[in-house]
Symmetry: C2
C-alpha cells in the first residue's frame, strides 16, 4: 500500500478506534491518527456531514485514498483484505467478519455497564442502574461471550490457538483488546473468568508478543485506559 | 441461485430475522423459514455449537449450501452481492454495509428501551429504568438516527429517494422495517418525527409497494408485531 491512511477518532480514548489502530500497527501500515494532533476537529467535520456524499454517523472513520469508511467492523473488513489480516476466500472472510460483529455486540454491552440509561448522561447520573446492569452482565453475559470465543478457538481445526485458520487475523487483535480492557475494567471478575478461559488468555499473550504490537503498546501512540473510554474501572461495578 | 436457503431464527417474532426475510422476499429467493415449522429446534442446535466448525453466537443464521452465516448485517452483505441488492463495486458495497451496521446499532438502542438492564430479565422487572431510557432515547437518539438517514437520502446524488445509488438495495428494505417497527412501538413520538423526515416516510412507502414485498406483507409468512420482539408497544414508554 503506497498511500497512507488517515484514522479519525476521538483524541483521548482508545475506544472503538483501538481495534483499527491494532490492525494498522500489526500491518505496519502508514497512517496518521489525525485527532491526536488536531483534538478531533477534522473528525467532527466528517461526522457533521456537510457536503460529503457518504457521511459517517460516528467515528472511527478511515480515509483510504478516495474511500471514507465508517463502522469499526467495516473498516476491519476492508483492512483485513488489503493487509492479509483475514482469510482470502469468501467463507473465511464472512466467518472472520461474523466474529468481529459478535465482538462489536460484546463491546456495546461492556460500554452499557456504565451507561445503561444514556450515553448523553454522565456515569454519576446513572449509577444505581449501572450497578444493576453490571451485576447482570458479570453473571450472565461476560461468561457467555468469553465461553463462546473460547469454544471458537477450540473448534478451529487448523488450530495453533487462533480464532480463524492457521495464522493471525484481525479478530485475534480485537480479542486481545477485549481481554486487556476487561482486565482493566473488571479485575476481580476477570481473575475468576480467566481460569476457565485459558485459550483466550494464551491468545491475548500471543498477540501482545507480536513484534509490531509489542512496539505499539510500548509507544506513546497507545493511549492508556481511562475513565472516559469503553473500559472503565469503577470498583463498585466489579462484582 | 439454484439451491435454496435455510433461515434459522426464533419462530414467533420478526426480530432481527426480519431484515433477512425482507431481502429474501424481494429477491424472490427460494428459502425455508425453518423455525416456523420446528419451533426453533434446529436453530437451537446450531447455536448450541456441538461439532460445528463455525458456531454462530445467536440467530439469525442463514444456511446457503455449505455456508453457515451469522450476524444480520453479515447475512445481508452476502445476500446483497448474490442477489444484486447492493452496488457491486468495493466503495458502494462498503458504504451500503456501513449503513446497515449503523441500522444495527439503532436496533440495539431500540431494543434496550424496554430492556435497559438485561435481556435475561422481563420487561416488568426493569420498568422504571425502561421509562428513563426511553425518555432519553425519544429525546436524543431517535431524532439523531432518523435525521442521519434522512440526510443520507438527501446526499445521494443518484437520487430517486433511495439510500444508496439509483436503485433499491437491502438497506432500503431494512429502513422500511425500522420505520414500520418504530410506528408500531412509538406511535406518538413517530407522528412528530415523521413530519421532519419526509424522505424516510416516502422510502418506507415505496418499499411497501414493491410487488414482492407487498405480497410478503399480506402473507402469513409475515409475523405480526408483538410484545416479544424488538419493537414493543408499551404506552408508558411512548413519551
Amino acid at each position: 500500500m503506497a498511500e497512507g491512511y488517515e484514522l479519525h477518532y476521538w483524541p483521548s480514548i482508545q475506544g472503538r478506534g483501538e481495534y483499527v489502530r491494532l490492525a494498522l500497527e500489526e500491518a505496519r501500515a502508514d497512517y496518521v491518527d489525525v485527532a491526536r494532533a488536531d483534538e478531533g476537529a477534522a473528525m467532527m467535520r466528517l461526522v457533521g456531514g456537510g457536503k460529503i456524499a457518504t457521511p459517517p454517523f460516528a467515528p472511527p472513520i478511515l480515509k483510504a485514498g478516495r474511500l471514507l469508511i465508517g463502522q469499526t467492523a467495516n473498516i476491519l473488513l476492508f483492512l483485513g483484505e488489503r493487509h492479509k489480516l483475514a482469510p482470502q476466500g469468501e467463507s473465511g472472510r464472512l466467518w472472520t467478519h461474523q466474529l468481529q460483529l459478535t465482538m462489536c455486540d460484546f463491546i456495546v454491552e461492556i460500554h452499557d455497564t456504565h451507561h445503561p440509561i444514556s450515553s448523553g448522561l454522565y456515569y454519576e447520573e446513572q449509577k444505581p442502574e449501572a450497578k444493576r446492569r453490571s451485576r447482570e452482565f458479570l453473571k450472565h453475559r461476560l461468561p457467555r461471550f468469553l465461553g463462546y470465543f473460547e469454544r471458537v478457538i477450540a473448534a478451529n481445526a487448523k488450530g495453533k490457538g487462533h480464532l480463524v485458520g492457521a495464522r493471525l487475523s484481525y479478530v485475534d487483535l480485537s480479542l486481545f483488546q477485549l481481554i486487556a480492557g476487561l482486565r482493566y475494567a473488571f479485575p476481580r471478575a476477570m481473575k475468576r473468568e480467566e481460569r476457565r478461559h485459558r485459550r483466550l488468555v494464551a491468545l491475548h499473550d500471543h498477540v501482545a508478543r507480536r513484534p509490531a504490537i509489542a512496539a505499539y503498546l510500548a509507544s506513546e501512540r497507545r493511549i492508556p485506559f481511562n475513565e472516559e473510554g469503553i473500559f472503565r474501572r469503577y470498583r463498585e461495578l466489579d462484582g
